[in-house]
Structures are given as structure tokens and as C-alpha cells.
């Protein structure tokens, strides 16, 4: 049924290939982080730069009540990052009304988010406070805006 002469090659070649792939895979594990609970699912990934935004928006769930409206900014303002954080906010703040500050890497008309009750700012504290501070973490701040 089988080509007996080829069998050792058909077994040994994939075993050797598997060992090489395993060695490279093991070398790419962030061993220092193994065994510690990561702060976010992205701490050691290629997308680690979004970790602070993820952590801030996740923590914002404690201060933004269900039904509240939120917009996510970065400091300084960056439309690409704000596009990501709008998407993160949709996932991490379920039950709230998430308004975009940017879509597809471009700022939207401010009228889109001007009614937001809460502003999450990823990064440094803004020079001009957008409202009353309700949360401050190492990742950023969350503000309740003054009624307009």
C-alpha cells in the first residue's frame, strides 16, 4: 500500500520541521510575562499600543452608567487611535451610547459627539478639563461633561 523506502523521510522531515517551528515559537513567548495575569489581552502583543485605551475604557464601565453617552478621545488628538477607541468603547461599554470622535482614521463633525455626557481621554490629562473628573488612572481620565 505504501512506498516503504519513502516512509522514514515522510516521518522524519515533518518531525524535524515541527521541532524547528516549536523552537521559534518558544523563543517568541514573552517568558517574563508568563504566569502573571496581564492587565489587558494586548499587553505583550503587536497591538500593545492600544493596551492603555483598552484598560481605560474597561475601567470606565464603573463610572459611566448604563444608558449614558460617551465619546473617546486621545491626548493629543489622533484620528486613527480615536477610530480604534470608538470601536473598543462599543465592546467594553455595552449598554451605553457610544459616539464617534473619528471614523476610518478621520475626525467626524464635532456635532456628532457634542452631546456626549462623558468623555474618556486616553493619555495625558487635557489642558482644558472637559468637565468634572470622575475617573483618573495611569491610562487616562474620564470626565462628566457640564450640561449644555
Amino acid at each position: 500500500m505504501h512506498d516503504r523506502r519513502s516512509t522514514p523521510v515522510v516521518v522524519l522531515a515533518p518531525l524535524l520541521g515541527s521541532a524547528i517551528l516549536l523552537a521559534f515559537a518558544a523563543a517568541s513567548v514573552p517568558w517574563k510575562a508568563v504566569g502573571r495575569r496581564p492587565r489587558t489581552p494586548f499587553d505583550a502583543s503587536a497591538a500593545s499600543s492600544v493596551g492603555p485605551g483598552y484598560a481605560l475604557l474597561r475601567d470606565a464601565a464603573a463610572v459611566v452608567p448604563p444608558g449614558g453617552s460617551v465619546v473617546a478621545f486621545t491626548e493629543p488628538r489622533d484620528p486613527v487611535s480615536e477610530t480604534y477607541y470608538h470601536r473598543f468603547a462599543i465592546s467594553l461599554l455595552p449598554g451605553r451610547r457610544i459616539l464617534p470622535a473619528a471614523l476610518y482614521g478621520r475626525f467626524v463633525d464635532p456635532a456628532t459627539w457634542t452631546d456626549a455626557e462623558f468623555v474618556a481621554v486616553v493619555g495625558a490629562r487635557p489642558a482644558e478639563p472637559p468637565g468634572e473628573l470622575v475617573l483618573s488612572t495611569t491610562d487616562g481620565t474620564v470626565w462628566r461633561r457640564r450640561p449644555r
Binding site: H2, T7, A13, S18, L22, A25, F88, S91, P94
Partner: protein, 452 residues
């Protein structure tokens, strides 16, 4: 903090759903471990189908009712099987090569688990849309058409097939919320399922050592590729699981009979319902399977119905949902014509794909299976042409997709190519042992399928 384990434990439901079907004695030859894993795969497909049908009918999801409806469907499928029992696999003590292959596969799973748990393999797409949709569906207890039609949420790709989001919604309903970190662990969990379930299926068409070695290569390649391309929690690992188990089953003598064809059809349906590119994979695999068999037209027709039936029914339900809610019509965002290609981007696309694959573990997850195939294959048989043909069809589909975009697709390719080309690595690893088996068709035991 206990939500994560509860969320993951919901994945014990699908094996219970699929168990009545896989308990049929026609599947004895696959061995206990493979049948348990295949039960999970089949159960997932059936419960996702039930959830989609409930959504089409406007019936809210409830865990007990979904479970009972899915077990009923699996039992109906079992009643339709009229096949004689198959002999159980021969019990032989594993040789040194088989043990080495098992160790390598086990270590690869452990490596993927450690990396994912450390936050080194998470996909941002999990948070962007896979998990976001699942969370909303769980809250709404249905596929939430209002949510999908929100103008600011068009990036969620409403038309994407429903299996992964349905499954995550099921787990979120069980846990009471979406668990993001737990969802990333689906990558090592399904990799472990492959490591456990694949050897038993491959062993029916190859020697134990060859099948174990091929399985180890597939698991190690997916582990490394998955860590490099950050597939934790997105649709890639479910897709790879269904594609690998489905095509391995088409190699098996089990695919000569109706029971094996229904099983393969269900697994390929899982691939087609996991991601868009799963459909061309399933269609090319089924087409080449039928081409590679020298059966009469009646046999091929019956086999085609069994293999294509589950995919047809599941996608028909999904597209019916999209059409009746005016969300989508087929796989389209509504932009451009089908053959509106941009061949002027061909060079750019080729360079971007090359850069992306080389940047993913130095291209090793693709190069090593290719080298293994070239070393092992002394001649191209119909059997080895089968996975290579599926790989060629998938590559053609992906090139077609990339050439379809009017704008420069380089950025898109840079973050998608490593993931979407990953089945090619698996297919090359499967092609190596098949190239030395002397029989011509996918199933090695008989030259011709049995006439009925």
C-alpha cells in the same frame, strides 16, 4: 472573576450535541479521541445553525431550548445513517516517532497557551467586531439586526457568516457577559482539539507514525503562525479547525460511505460558516474530492448532496436573515461589481503578500511544510494533488479578493495576509504524506468507490 471559566465551559455543550451522531458505529474506525473532538465540531455547526434559524424565525434564544433543538437535529441525522459498523482502529503501542510527534504537538499547544495567556497573541478584531457582535447578540438573545444596521458600525461586516459570533454569544449567555480574555484562549483550546483529534482521522489513511508526524507539523505551524499573526479570539482558529478536520476526513476511507460524507459535509460547513474564505475552501475541497474519485455519476451526485447539503442549508438560513432584515444580500458590502478587478495592482499585491508572509515568523510556518512536501514527494499523485489543488484555489480566491479593491490594498494585506493564507501551510503539511501513498484517490483503501 469566575466568568471566564464559565464562559469557556460553555464549549462543553457542542460535544454533547454532536455525540449522538458520532456515537454511530460507522465512525468506530476514527477512534475515541477523534470522535469526541469531531462531536464538538459537529455540535458547534448544528447549534450555530439552530441559532441562525431561530433568528430568521424571530424566536429569542434560550440555552435549554437551543440545546434540545440541536440534540434533536443531531439525533435526526443519526437516524438517517444506514451504514454498517466500521472496525475500531488497531491497538498498537505507539512507536518512538509517534511519541515524539505527540510530544512536539503537545509542547506547541502549551507554547500557544502560555503566549496567549500572557497577552501576546490576542487579535484586536476580537474586540473590534467578533466579540462586539456576540456580546450584543447575547444581550438581545438573537442576531441583532438593529445593531448591525447602525451607520457608525458598518465596520462590523454584518454579512460575515455567523458561526463564530453565534458560538461566542452562546458562551456569553451562559456566563452572563462576554469574557474577552477567555475568548482569546479559543486559539490554544482549538489547537489542542486538533492535536487530539487529527491523528485518529489521518491514521485511517496513513501509517500511525506518518499521520502523527503530519499532525505535529500542522499543529506546530499553526501554533507559531497564530502567535506571530495574533489570532487569539478571532475567526481564524475555528476556521482552521474545521478546514483541517474536514479535509482530513475527505482523505479517510470513512469518506467512501454516506456517514463519512455527511460528517465531512458538516465540518466543511463549519469552515464556510466561520469566515468568508471558508466557502471557497469548502467548495474547492468538495469539487476536487469528487474529481479525484473515479465513481459513477450517481455515486458522485449522492456524495455531492451529502457534502454540500449542510453548507447550503446553513448559508441559505444566514442569507435569508440578511435579506429579510435588509442588511445584506450575499457576501457583499454593496460596493463594486464582481469582476471589477484592478490588475494594475498585481505587482503591488504580490510584494505586499510576500512582505507579510516573510514578516510572520520569517515565513517559516509556510516554508517548512513546503520543504517537507518537496522532500517527501517523488511524484505528484491525484491524492497529493487534492490538498495542493485546494491550496491553489484558496490562493486564487485571496488574490482575486485583494485585486478587487480600487484603492492601494497594501495596508489591508499587511494585517490580513499572514492569517488568511494560514490554511495553505496546513494543506502543504497534509500533502507530504499523501504524496508517497500509492493509491490515487483521496481515500486509500479502494481504487473505486463502492457501487450502491
Amino acid at each position: 472573576m469566575r466568568d471566564g471559566p464559565v464562559w469557556l465551559s460553555a464549549f462543553l455543550l457542542p460535544p454533547l450535541i454532536g455525540a449522538p451522531l458520532l456515537a454511530h458505529p460507522a465512525f468506530r474506525r476514527l477512534g475515541r479521541a477523534s470522535r469526541a473532538i469531531l462531536s464538538g465540531g459537529v455540535g458547534t455547526v448544528i447549534v450555530s445553525f439552530s441559532m441562525t434559524v431561530f433568528a430568521v424565525a424571530g424566536v429569542r434564544w434560550s440555552l435549554p431550548i437551543l440545546f434540545l433543538a440541536s440534540v434533536f437535529l443531531a439525533s435526526l441525522l443519526r437516524l438517517a445513517l444506514r451504514e454498517a459498523p466500521s472496525p475500531p482502529p488497531e491497538r498498537q503501542p505507539p512507536g518512538a516517532a509517534t511519541r515524539a510527534a505527540g510530544t512536539l504537538a503537545g509542547l506547541a499547544v502549551l507554547t500557544a497557551l502560555l503566549a496567549t495567556a500572557a497577552g501576546a497573541a490576542s487579535s484586536s478584531d476580537l474586540v473590534f467586531f467578533w466579540g462586539a457582535k456576540a456580546q450584543q447578540y447575547a444581550a438581545a438573545r438573537t442576531v441583532d439586526a438593529r445593531f448591525l444596521s447602525e451607520p457608525f458600525l458598518q465596520y462590523m461586516h454584518a454579512y460575515y457568516p455567523p458561526l463564530v459570533t453565534n458560538l461566542y454569544a452562546l458562551a456569553s449567555m451562559a456566563a452572563g457577559r462576554m469574557c474577552w480574555t477567555a475568548a482569546t484562549l479559543i486559539f490554544p483550546a482549538l489547537l489542542a482539539a486538533l492535536a487530539l483529534g487529527l491523528p485518529g482521522v489521518l491514521r485511517t489513511s496513513s501509517r500511525a507514525a506518518e499521520s502523527a508526524a503530519a499532525c505535529a507539523l500542522i499543529v506546530c505551524a499553526i501554533a507559531y503562525l497564530g502567535m506571530e499573526a495574533d489570532i487569539g479570539g478571532n475567526g481564524e482558529m475555528p476556521l482552521l479547525f474545521f478546514e483541517t478536520m474536514g479535509i482530513a476526513l475527505l482523505f479517510s476511507p470513512a469518506s467512501e460511505g454516506a456517514a463519512g460524507q455527511i460528517l465531512a459535509g458538516l465540518l466543511l460547513c463549519g469552515a464556510a460558516c466561520a469566515k468568508v474564505e471558508g466557502l471557497p475552501f469548502a467548495l474547492s475541497a468538495i469539487g476536487l474530492f469528487l474529481w479525484a474519485r473515479r465513481g459513477d455519476a450517481k455515486w458522485r451526485g449522492a456524495a455531492a448532496i451529502r457534502l454540500l447539503g449542510p453548507t447550503t442549508a446553513s448559508l441559505a438560513a444566514w442569507f435569508t436573515f440578511g435579506a429579510t432584515r435588509r442588511l445584506f444580500h450575499g457576501y457583499s458590502d454593496g460596493g463594486g461589481r464582481f469582476l471589477d478587478l484592478h490588475p494594475e495592482h498585481a505587482g503591488l499585491v504580490a510584494r505586499a503578500i510576500g512582505r507579510s508572509l516573510v514578516a510572520t515568523g520569517y515565513g517559516l510556518p509556510y516554508l517548512i511544510p513546503l520543504l517537507c512536501f518537496l522532500i517527501s514527494a517523488r511524484r505528484l499523485t491525484r491524492r497529493s494533488a487534492f490538498p495542493l489543488g485546494v491550496a491553489a484555489a484558496l490562493i486564487g480566491f485571496l488574490l482575486f479578493t485583494y485585486l478587487h479593491r480600487a484603492e492601494d490594498p497594501s495596508m489591508w494585506i499587511s494585517w490580513s495576509a499572514a492569517r488568511v493564507f494560514s490554511p495553505v501551510a496546513m494543506l502543504l503539511a497534509l500533502a507530504a504524506p499523501s504524496a508517497v501513498a500509492s493509491t490515487e484517490g483521496p481515500g486509500p483503501r479502494t481504487e473505486r468507490p463502492p457501487r450502491r
